[in-house]
Structure formats: C-alpha cells, structure tokens
C-alpha cells in the first residue's frame, strides 16, 4: 500500500474513523485511499476552520479524536483559530496537512510555506513525514500523542510523495502513558486545607467538570463547606437538574471579584488560577484575593475525577453533594423577544441530554443560572476566545452524538466567521438547532469601549461595531446553504419555531431578533 493508504489504515486501526476535510491536490492520495481502506467517514467542510472546529466538538463529545485533512500552509492557516480553541479545550485531534512533494519545495512554487512553523503555533505535537516508509509509524505516533491525557492537538505534515510512494502496512499505536496519579500526600494536604474551616474554593477544570467529578466535589463541599467553581471557559461542562451545583466565574471583572471575595484558599483541580479574560486598565487582572493561598490538587495532565473521589473518601464525605440543581421549567415567555426570553424558552422545552454550543457572547451572559436548572445537558464553551467556534463545534458534536439534540447558541457577529458550517450540517443532515441572536451589532465591543476607559465620544468607532447597513438576513444566508430557517420577532413566534425545530429532525436555524 502507498503512504496515504497505510496512514488511513493506521488511523482506522487506532480508532480514528471520522475525518473532517477540505482537501486539495496534495491530499488527493489520502482522499483516494478512503475509497480503498474501509472504515473512515469523510465529512466535507467548505472552509478549514469548520473542519478543525468540528473535530474539536467531536472530540469533546466522543471522547476520542477525529482527523482533519487540510491543504498546505494556507489551509492550515484557515484552521489555526479553531485549533487554538481545541488546544485550550484539551481536545484530542489529528491534523493531516498535505505539503508539496519533498523535491518540489526547493522551487518555491506559489503554495510553499513553512508549514511546521505555522503548525507549532497551535499544536501540541508536530511532525513532518520524511518519506512514505515513515508514514505509518508517524501516524501511529500522532494518534498516541493526541490521546495522551487530557488530549492533544497532533499535526502530521504529509508531503505528496510520502503519500503516493510505496509504504509498509499499518503500525499499531504505541502504548500511551497513563497520567501521573495524585499521590496520597497531596490528597491529605488538600484535606487539611479543607478542614481548617477557612473559606475555600475548589476550582475545577477538564474532566472534573463532568458529572462524576462534580458529584465528588459536591460531596467534599457538603463535608467541608467549600465552594465549587469553574473558570468561564471550559471544553465541556455537565450540568442541569440532579447534578451538583457549582458557579462559573463571570467574564466582567467586578462580579468575578465579588464571587471570589473572602476566599482564603483555592484548591486547583486541573484548572488555572482565575484571571481576567483581558487586562483592563485600572482593573485587577488577578482575580483571587491577594492573600488567598493557591494549592494544587492536580494539574490538567492528571486525573481530576479520581483525585476528587480520593479526596472525598479521605474526608469521609457523605454520599450526597451539598446541593444539586432542581429541575425548573420556566413558563413560556411572551411579548417582546429578548435574549433572556430565548434562553427561558429553551429551558422550558429542552430535551434530556441536549448539547449546547455557546458562542452567544453578550447574549449568554445571564443564561448561566437559568440553564443550570434545565434537564441534564452538556455545555461547550469557546475555550480559547477565538470567535468562530460555535457553529463548527455544534457540527462536530452532532456527528459524535447522533441521538442527542444539539443547540448552537450563536451571536450574529460570531456566526459570520465560520458560517460555512451550516452547509455541512445540511449535507450531513445533522440534528442541530442554531439559535441566532440577532442584535445586529458587535454588542460586546460597545461595552468594551466603555470598559477600556476611552473618555470621549467615538461615533466612528461605534459605527464599526454595527452590523446594520446592511443588516444580515440570516434566514436567507442559512437558507442559501440548505438549512431550514425562520425568523422570530416576538417571544411567541420564537416559542413556536423552537418547538417545531426540536420536534423535526435535521438542521434548523432560528434568527431571533432581539
């Protein structure tokens, strides 16, 4: 078999059986190999950021990596922003980036770029296959690197001749080192902190924010009075009725400071100490009180769930957490449509085990507490702050979980970055309901202009934050990509359209004029 075939076989043997792709000439042998080697599902994206964002969403929900197939440096460039998000989500992913044949590089043909340098800016592991014979070994290593706890972005650069020349057969995936266990001394030390009776926060990240980790943290909270929190941006959170209560630290600095005020200790469980999203002039960027002591139960490279369970045992904690979310189905909203009413309607109708991809930015600021009482669900945040994640992540999550309803909660500004994801949803008939908050502005930037302390009028700046003149007609845009789309201008219209979208399989978009 040729290099491309042995690559595809190695990936499939390693359990990687979905590939989000936007291929070109240099990737043609990989594409052809998928017709020969069985077991790889290929999904076309019309822009590379859709592919990497979808692979991220897939990894978060499937708990295993997808591959992407990208076209040289420019294809990888288009993919960088969502690779950055994926890396911040600790999503496992294997990017295959085609390159010119090795002997062609010296001629500096138009597409020639330093792909390795580019890949390193948003990957945890990068390698260029030297020749066809090296491909299966390199591919197996890429899978192993991607799978290292908690998940890594691995990028394998594949010269066209390494793809088309004769290679060996596939190679098994090397053994993946287990995460370093949290030693008993560290558990005891955390327990001592918790038993001091001083105000203590358990700050969870990574897998600790899944149901099991939260449950263990809730038991610790019950035993010790500790508060459970998470940073604002996380790859995946399991929340909703019956699950343990915790708080996400808000984006604006004043309420974040308020939430953390008085903490004497913070115990990190696979999370970074909370800092502000940006540094704002005349505002602190370190959010915990200066005299709050930071302790580490485990890093993100360790197993936070078992560490929390061991800590709960150490504390002889009760079986039940301090608090679980009640199930509250709000009344269906009426009257004028607002962002909050959109969320209320969603919580009123949300099916069990829905998946929410949140990129609503200023329109999801108040959603947190409301949605916490919805039926159990998974919440996927923009992890690296790179806008243009929401629609692709929803796409990949729907591929990973065909039996679950996915809601893409999307802002009109954010949605425009990678709107091509809608076409992939239509093509693959994915069960995604996109709710498009149309406030027809980069509303957050109006707020930021005030936050940064500009002390004069800025009519021209404010003009730049308006998505009017012309306004975006999302019903037409989404319809033009084959999506069933409708517009809601009142709460009642929204309720009706949402109900219909929930009960009709396949992709929908509701443009909510707020």
């Amino acid at each position: 078999m040729n290099g491309a075939e042995s690559l595809v076989q190695t990936l499939v043997d390693g359990g990687v059986d979905v590939c989000f792709t936007n291929p070109g000439t240099s990737e043609m042998h990989f594409v052809a190999a998928v017709d020969k080697i069985k077991g790889m599902r290929t999904i076309l994206g019309l822009f590379e950021g859709v592919c990497t964002g979808a692979a991220d969403g897939y990894a978060r929900m499937a708990g295993k990596p997808a591959a992407t197939l990208l076209h040289l440096g420019p294809g990888l460039g288009n993919a960088i922003a969502n690779l950055h998000n994926a890396r911040r989500a600790n999503s496992a992913m294997i990017n295959i980036v085609g390159d010119h044949a090795t002997y062609h590089l010296k001629y500096n043909a138009p597409l020639t770029m330093d792909i390795e340098a580019l890949a390193k800016t948003a990957s945890d592991w990068v390698k260029t296959s030297r020749d066809a014979a090296s491909v299966p070994k390199d591919a197996a290593q890429a899978v192993a690197e991607a799978l290292k706890h908690p998940g890594n972005v691995a990028t394998l650069i594949l010269p066209a001749d390494a793809s088309w020349n004769e290679s060996t057969g596939p190679v098994p995936i090397p053994e993946i080192p287990k995460p370093k266990p949290v030693d008993h001394k560290t558990i005891e030390s955390a327990a001592r902190v918790l038993l001091m009776g001083e105000p203590t926060i358990l700050l969870l990240g990574g897998a600790a924010l899944m149901e099991e980790g939260l449950w263990a943290a809730g038991r610790i909270a019950r035993a010790t009075g500790a508060r459970i929190m998470a940073n604002r941006s996380n790859g995946r959170i399991q929340r909703g009725a019956g699950r343990a209560v915790f708080d996400r630290i808000p984006y604006p600095v004043p309420p974040a400071l308020k939430m953390l005020k008085g903490a004497a200790h913070m115990i990190l469980v696979g999370a970074q100490p909370p800092v502000s999203f940006f540094a704002w002039r005349n505002m602190p960027n370190w959010l915990t009180p200066r005299d709050c002591k930071i302790h580490t139960l485990c890093t993100e490279k360790q197993d936070g769930v078992s560490a929390l369970q061991a800590l709960a045992e150490e504390l002889d904690a009760p079986e039940q957490p301090a608090a679980v979310y009640e199930r509250i189905r709000p009344e269906l909203p009426a009257g004028e449509l607002t962002a909050e009413k959109v969320w209320m309607a969603l919580v009123a109708m949300m099916p069990e085990h829905a998946i929410i991809s949140d990129e609503a930015v200023s329109s999801s600021r108040t959603a947190d507490q409301l949605v916490a009482t919805a039926p159990p669900h998974d919440w996927l945040s923009v992890t690296g702050g790179a806008i243009g994640q929401g629609l692709p992540v929803a796409t990949g999550a729907a591929v990973a979980c065909p039996d679950r309803k996915v809601f893409a909660m999307e802002a009109d500004g954010s949605g425009m970055y990678t709107l091509q994801a809608l076409w992939t949803q239509a093509r693959e008939r994915l069960d995604v309901v996109t709710i498009l908050f149309a406030n027809r502005s980069y509303r957050i930037l109006h707020q930021e202009l005030e936050r940064v302390g500009v002390d004069y009028d800025c009519p021209r700046a404010r003009e730049l934050f308006k998505l009017t003149n012309p306004h975006l007609n999302w019903v037409d845009i989404a319809g033009g990509m084959g999506i069933h789309a409708s517009r809601a201008e009142t709460a009642r219209q929204f309720n009706e359209q949402l109900e219909q979208a929930i009960h009709t399989p396949g992709p929908h978009l509701i443009e909510a004029i707020i």
Copy 2:
C-alpha cells in the same frame, strides 16, 4: 497622545489612510484613536481574511499600503492565508495585531498565543512594540518596511498597554532605500544573449507586467524576436487592446511544456523560473527545457521597468512593440450558458479600465486569450494559491479605484472561503460585479484525481468534490448580505443581468449556472 493615537497619526502622516479591520477589546484604543486623529478611513470586515485580502487588493491597485487591524493570534490566524497571497504578490501592507497587555501575558489567559511566531509565517517584517514610547518609531519603521521595493508585508504587534499608555508624538517615516539599479554590464550581457539569434524568452514578473514594462519588452521582442511571457500567478497584469502581447504560462503541465519547448535562453525580469504549481507524479515540475540557459536581468527587488527600458535602448529597439492586442468585441453569446460564454459576454461589454479579480479556477482556464483583446484592464491573480482571495481582493481594489468597475470572477467553491467580503462591499457600496461560476463542484479536484494517477474508481472521493446535496443558492446567500443578486441559467439571461450590473453602480452578484 497615547500609543494608539501616535500610531494612527504616524500611519496617516506616512500616507496610510485606509484600515481594513475586524477589531476586538485589545484593539479598542486604536479604534477610538480614529475618532480623534483625522484622516484614517476604517472599513469593517466580518472575517479577518477579508481584511488582509482587501488590503492586498488595495495595495495592488493603489500602489501604496493599507493597514489592517486584527485581534490577537486567532484574528491573525484567520488572516494568514490572504497574507500569504499578499506576500506572494509583493503587496505593501501594515498589519497591526493587538495583543494582551504585557503584564497579562504571564497568566496565560484564553487568547494568549505566540503571535510573533504566527506572524513570521506570512510576513516579511515582524516587530512587537515593547511599550507606548516605542510605538511611533516602530510604526514608522513598519511603514518603511512595507514600502521597500517591491512591497512587503509588515506586521506590528501592539500590546494593549503600549496602546493605552502615554506616548510621544508621531515620528516621520525613515528614508526608504532605493532598489539596487541594474548595472550596465548586466544590460549588455542580456543584450548579447538576445542578439545570439537563439530562441529566447523574456519572463516578466512584478511591475514589469504593467503597461510600461510590457511595452519595453515588446520593443525588445520586435528588435530580437524574443518571446514575452509571464508565470501564471502575478499580483497585477495590465493587458488588453493596444498593449503589448505576451503569454501566461498555463497551469497544466503539458501545455506549459509545449509553450516553453525549444527555448535556448530565458531572461528573468523580476520573475522566478517557471515550475509547475504542484509536483505531479510522473510529470516534470521544472518547466523550461533542461538545456535552456537561465539569465537574470533583474530580481524582484530591483526595478524591472527601467531595466527593460535600458535594455531596449541598448538594443536600439524600435518604438513599437512586436505585437499589440487588437480590440475584439465578440458577439453576445446565445443558448446554453457555459464558462466560456460568460467570459465572451464580459469581453463584449467590459468598460474601459476595468479591474478583474480572478479566482474562477477551472472556469478561467480558457479566458486568457479571449480577455486579452478586451479594452485595457488590470488582471489580479491568486498569487499564493490560497483560495479565498478573489472576493476580498476585489473589495480592496474597489476601495482603491472608486471610478473603475471591478469584476470578481469567482468559483462557487472558492467563493465560500471568504464570502463575508460581500457584506463589506454592500456596506461600502463598492462598484463590484461578482460573477459566480456555479458548477456546483470542486471541479478542479475531479481533474486532479485523474492527474495524480489514482488507478481505481473513487466514488467516495468524488462525492467530496460535489457542492450539491444541498447546492449553494448564491442569490440567497449574497442577498442575505445586502447584495443585489440574480441567477442566470441561459446566455441571454446572463447578458441581460451583466448589462444591468455594469450600468447600475454598487455591488451585484450574478450566479451563472454553468
């Protein structure tokens, strides 16, 4: 004034008065500065690749740089593909990339990336301003670097605190070194080659492809019998009735080899020796005959136009070129619509001094000779092979040349990468007619699958190259972004719609079903 204000003032003083932007919080002081410092026009793009592509088109047509304003690493990531194209076009451009405040970087907040490393992959010059006091000097240097012949991509990274802290006033632009003149010995040596009476090709690149350079080359051709050629991808070509005849080397290898066959000498005038776009297995990638001697009249860093003029004088060449294009207005096409008929209709109706941004890929393969006899026009190619350039470049060209009609000749596959450019065209009421060749496939990839020598059926691969199921409705997509859009299914419909678009100012899109 603060750093941002001194930056804007330095740019404006340096003649940089257009900024294509997609800003965020870290760029807020720059955005606000534009309300205080007069003379900078800011143009919003809803995706960063639109901004850098527009700045590229602007530079190609204005002959001077625009600025872009981008949001940290992810914003720059989205801009990379069109920066790569811009760099390959030798377009002058100044990218301002906001970064976190310097004291915030150590906290690894979500948006933190190695922006310098990313910028270096697609810039000729990169610098991070250390503090507010350094900003005006750094900005002046950025302008100078951008303006160095033949034009460079300069990227200045601007930490938020360098932007908001107090700075000095603006700084004048340092003197820009003149390009190294071509010495008389080189001119004589090229003349000797040309007078040997052996088959010789003058291969032009850069400014030599503007009217004046081509005219001088044509005179040389008349004096010596040399043939004039250009590589396939060039930043800007001036062609059409009354201008000197030359040939572009085709994309497919066999006709390229045929065109270059028999050449004993090739004289490079700011061009690279011709190589194939990709390396294809079992096909040569070096396109000139093995025994063809390559000579260099000048590099792209020198002034090709004056070199050609000096060479013409050295040869005592006649005033008229060997051949100029006749003006031929074809009959308006009728019947079924094809790509060729679209081009025929365009040539039949094209106004004087139109600008063509060509990203039609497989639909512009046969256009070359046909359009050469149209009225004088400028032709802008995809220079770096990064798809998603056509609509943004047309946008920037229209900003640079408000009195000229711009035609974006766009494929449906290519158009989807940066379709957000249409919104900017609508917002700025730019005089761009987008002609969207809807063959509803990545047609070139069907051809490439055959070229790469895959010898078995690939139904699944071919499925990946189809833009059907669902097909893209460009009338709805463009209409949803405020563009006047129509669909032509016959040649007659196309003729009518094109005529109307040409005579009605403002942006239009015609979806040509071929």
